[in-house]
Amino acid sequence: MWTFLHKFASPKHFYRIAGKMIPWLAALTVLFMVAGLYFGLFVAPPDYQQGESYRIMFIHVPSAWMSLFVYVFMAVAAAIHLIWNIKLADVMASSSAVLGASFTFLALATGSLWGKPMWGAWWVWDARLTSELILLFLYLGYIALVAAIDDKRAAGRAGGVLILVGVVNIPIIHYSVEWWNTLHQGPTVTKFDKPSIHLSMLLPLLLMAAAFQFYFFTLVLMRARTEVLERERRSAWVEELLG
């Protein structure tokens, strides 16, 4: 296992293995996405309170989850990079940032689309909404910092430190709903002991969540591959590859 990891962590092997994984991941993304959309849009019944508008949940909730997940993923990668000095981890972190920011933006946009019928306003200064906005700022801060430093190695490590420091905000975003009584929905799905959501709605939600996960990994690997090529452009194997 360890040797496999080490092998995987070498840029050359990563490039090759990732190249093989991408088509499979892309196929899974499409599969889950189609299934999720089908169950979500055609099978799941309208909500007894919200009618049809609740269906935006199938985009909103997965992207909100992803916005948090990607940050944690980046934090883990940054930690690996800083502690063991594995360059590939940095490639992963920096390739994820833009995706994370996009998911966050998507959660914000769909959330405010949903907020209009639900709360009568596009935007309210509620704890969870605000903290999601802050998450967007965290991503943007990382992107700006990395872009501002010329030296790639230094940029990666500086960004890593920033990401790790920002991790404190993640639990705050997640628990903000419990700490302050706010407008936003409390945990409905993540209460595993007694899910307060009907199965016919839960199933498409989970399918969509899985689809988003696969989508993220597909894109991250694709971005990481170009990034690896860019960084290793001076090495023998890349020159050989590009002829």
Binding site: D150, D151, R153, R234
Partner: protein, 212 residues
């Protein structure tokens, strides 16, 4: 470059490589330096002298290779290495709003040495700053600032000196002074790595390393 003689060598550069931006400044650079040896790093403007010295001082990391001090990679034993090394870069590291005396006092304490005002005043007088020890550094001339920075060499017993263009802005008496300091350092078994675009005339042997 001299042959590796690992037993005597105090400072070793092992296969150093430095890449800045797209340019490879040097690669596979190795040398050993034994006690009492002075090494002049030479090269045209932009050859990579400053980059090399910063790597030797542990301020930046080489993209390949490592620097070894008394048998240990410096990245592993940073504190011990820093206690035995003085680095003087292009900038003196002086606070313009403090006097030379205050600047040196802090520097000595940070270096883990005892800050003795008499000793500092004496050192400042030696480098020709008699009467300036309490003036704010801001008003000193370029050469006087350089002298203040150099007076550290008098105050510490660190065996390794890493000096980036120590002769900048010095007048002829200043030059002589630094040369004498280097001579004495080598006599006592100290090591020094330095750069300079002016000839370095020391009485002992001076090895040189040319960066192309």
């Amino acid at each position: 470059m001299g042959k590796p003689s690992p037993d005597a060598a105090e400072l070793q550069a092992q296969g150093l490589e430095c890449i800045r931006g797209d340019r490879l400044l040097f690669c596979d650079l190795s040398f050993d330096l034994a006690a009492g040896e002075l090494l002049a790093v030479e090269g045209a403007n932009g050859a990579g002298k400053t980059s090399l010295l910063r790597i030797l001082a542990g301020l930046s990391l080489p993209s390949e290779g490592s620097v070894v001090w008394r048998g240990h990679a410096i990245a592993r034993r940073r504190a011990e290495y820093c206690a035995e090394m003085i680095y003087l870069g292009h900038q003196g590291g002086l606070k313009m709003d403090l006097s030379p005396l205050e600047n040196l006092r802090l520097w000595l304490t940070l270096a883990g040495l005892e800050a003795n005002d008499d000793a500092i005043t004496h050192a400042l007088a030696t480098v020709g700053l008699d009467g300036y020890q309490d003036a704010p550094t801001r008003i000193l001339s370029a050469g006087q600032r350089q002298r203040t920075a150099l007076s550290r060499l008098l105050l510490s017993a660190a065996p390794l000196w890493i000096l980036d263009e120590p002769f900048t802005a010095l007048d002829t008496r200043g030059l002589t002074l630094v040369r004498q300091l280097l001579d004495r350092h080598a006599d006592r078994g100290g090591l020094a790595v330095l750069t300079s675009h002016q000839p370095i005339e020391v009485s002992g042997p001076l090895r040189s390393l040319v960066l192309a």
